[in-house]
Subunit: 235 residues, 2 copies
Amino acid sequence: VVQSARERARAEVTKDILDEARRQLAADGAPALSLRAVARQLGMASSALYRYFASRDELLTALIVEAYDDLGEAVERAERQVAADEPARRWRAVCQGVRRWALAHPHQYALLYGSPVPGYRAPERTVGPAARVPLVLSGILSAARAEGSLDESPFPVPEPLSSDAAVVAAAAMPGVPTAVVVRGLVAWTQLFGIVSFELFGHTKGVVSDGEVFFAQSVELMGRFIGLSMSLDEFS
Amino acid sequence: VVQSARERARAEVTKDILDEARRQLAADGAPALSLRAVARQLGMASSALYRYFASRDELLTALIVEAYDDLGEAVERAERQVAADEPARRWRAVCQGVRRWALAHPHQYALLYGSPVPGYRAPERTVGPAARVPLVLSGILSAARAEGSLDESPFPVPEPLSSDAAVVAAAAMPGVPTAVVVRGLVAWTQLFGIVSFELFGHTKGVVSDGEVFFAQSVELMGRFIGLSMSLDEFS
DNA sequence: TGTACATCAGTGAACGCGCGTTCACTGATGTAC
DNA sequence: TGTACATCAGTGAACGCGCGTTCACTGATGTAC
């Protein structure tokens, strides 16, 4: 792949812009991010940025995609470090991965999972990256089910319901019963719920040790899903 | 209580300002709320607002307190409409109350439970109103425990953990075992997690019917807590 | 290999807008004697 | 009951700031013959 000087320069400047935008996002949060500030820091005219991003929203979108991918990669990496045939450990690794990434990147987490930016509509290309964590989770469920270690008994779902709401999610987990899919979705919302609450300050004055509470939550929700979470493996 | 004309006028103008601010918040979201726009709508000079609120942050705080109280009241009202000695129904009522309020007031919900406003620190006086929903939840747990209908078996918590993290929350529920308190906290984070996900668009393309999924979630988490959720009572 | 033309990155000025907050002031309401 | 003074709501101008986006332009890089 041969790149002309122009192409190389373009790639480099694009990267510089993203780097600086990411830095400002991490430092001051998404609402404070401005094209002019980025340009100023890079020593270029603010109008020059329009050669690279058509608008502020496009820059925001690039940062969102980046953040989803960064989170997805961190979570996938964490999962890869435990044995593939031990769903309980994979579940723990994924949950801890999400929390750790969130604590390390609070403003990017808020950009992804906090209040939607008013007037901003997420374009199609954020969907794929946003699906990485859910995909990892459904992989764990599928694997546990396949190897027969999934306890399907604890929580039967009233029938008229189970058939309905989770159709789309179920497509990612062929063979997994709908009742289990629903439990997985509930655990998914709980995972991000607890992380958001900790990060956004809602557990202040309620929970004394966020890390310990989170670890407990992971154990409990793991069992809720039907994974075999042996107590002695818990560290 | 006799009010001078001045006092009456002051109370009225204060109310007008809050009404208009609430209207703009509900319409465009917190980031778009500006003192100048409020003043403009009321036909007064923007500087006049400073006789009533020392800064934009103070106005925001007033709106936050108001929103917490509105949510708290809605939830308490919903709970009061079911029998006090049926914890399962109370749990359902409270969850539905939270979701309904959130759907009816998305921007206020986002103000309370979305990304923290950068640079804004919530003052003490938001703490009480913010605690209303958690208090209602802990009341349900306490009542269920007191009447002996709480199943404490399903999820034992590893011991080194249970003693630690939930001390503060446990104080609101004397007599309730720590393991149960932790389960309650987990359910609490799940409740707001699922509502946030629905409201902020993270279940789009995953869940087809938000209402049905939520109802299932409520049943499952009710059982997770240890409440006796009889299937046939489910509507 | 050299020339003519097209493409493209970057500039700097400008448009049009909005914001929070301060300050000296006017005039009305309230209070003390 | 009437007067002198203090309190307070509201005004309008100003400060100082920042923003996203457009546009005509320069000058360098790339391309076709």
